[in-house]
Symmetry: C2
Subunit: 180 residues, 2 copies
């Protein structure tokens, strides 16, 4: 537990039987509140046990819910790709007709795949000329470009996918290094 | 709550002050257990409140965890498709060279996509001749085929994806209807 407060097992049938050990004070008036307190004790014990049972149920329910949510999200995300695969197969089915036309169709499928990623929250990014950003770019090389600002993206080797805070993959880039 | 036991707000500073209302019994001996009981009350109250605090923390933590798991699973599932898209683009980049050869390469990309789905737990299924199974097939038509067993899959119009218990999409099929 993050709180460091592991609930302990409720004491079963806990009863005080050592009245005699309590030193009687003859000056104190008889305080017959013990019956009230006993009732309160019972009630509190009951509430505490119910809270512990709730904790236990919550843990079990949550474990199941995590599995369910994980499966749901996997299915939702995978299902978004089925139309892409369907269209790819449809295009390939006509491959014998006119390969060049088929390739045009497959370019449309590629665009559709990029749209699917955007829809899932991972827009494509492949801008050049922007400042190098370590959260979105991964440097694979350096280019000496006299005309470019230092530390800007000179060339994108492979596009990145993702928005701020959730990069699916950084763009692999060549950055400019101004000649001094 | 599934248990129907919604924990109530802990009573703040709950103290008995109506000792006088308790009927004193002169025959009963003074039972000075109230100090022990008061200590026990305090301890139980403390435990109960901690259990309620644990419950509250657990609920908050779970809500965050569900979001985290959802995002993780979405990213994991989407990332599995990036190599497919990369290869599709790589193939298209050579489209001017030899369209027929490029199409062969794209067939490999299609196979890769099918493998990705299998890896995510959604194997492709497109068998004919198998008994119609409403959990895996969706009927789009009926074929009169004298040679086929009644109620078997005669033709798959579109493949299905998924394993037992988690069908991403049923296969769309034509079923056989034996002529009587």
């Amino acid at each position: 537990m993050a709180t460091g407060q592991e609930p302990v097992t409720p004491p079963e049938g806990e009863q005080r039987t050592d009245d005699a050990a309590f030193p009687a004070d003859p000056a104190a008036p008889a305080r017959p509140e013990s019956a009230d307190q006993a009732a309160e004790l019972d009630e509190l014990r009951d509430r505490w046990r119910r809270a512990l049972a709730d904790l236990d149920n919550l843990r079990k329910r949550h474990a199941k819910e995590l599995e369910r949510v994980r499966g749901e999200e996997r299915a939702r995300t995978a299902a978004a790709w089925l139309p892409v695969l369907d269209n790819l197969e449809r295009a390939l089915a006509h491959a014998d007709a006119d390969p060049s036309a088929v390739l045009k169709g497959i370019e449309t499928v590629r665009d559709q795949a990029v749209e699917v990623l955007r829809g899932l929250g991972y827009p494509r990014h492949e801008e050049t000329g922007v400042p190098f950003d370590p959260t979105r770019h991964e440097v694979v090389g350096v280019l000496d470009d006299p005309g470019a600002e230092r530390n800007t993206v000179a060339q994108v080797v492979s596009p990145g996918y993702g928005a701020d805070g959730s990069q699916l993959r950084p763009a692999f880039v060549m950055v400019s290094k101004r000649q001094e």
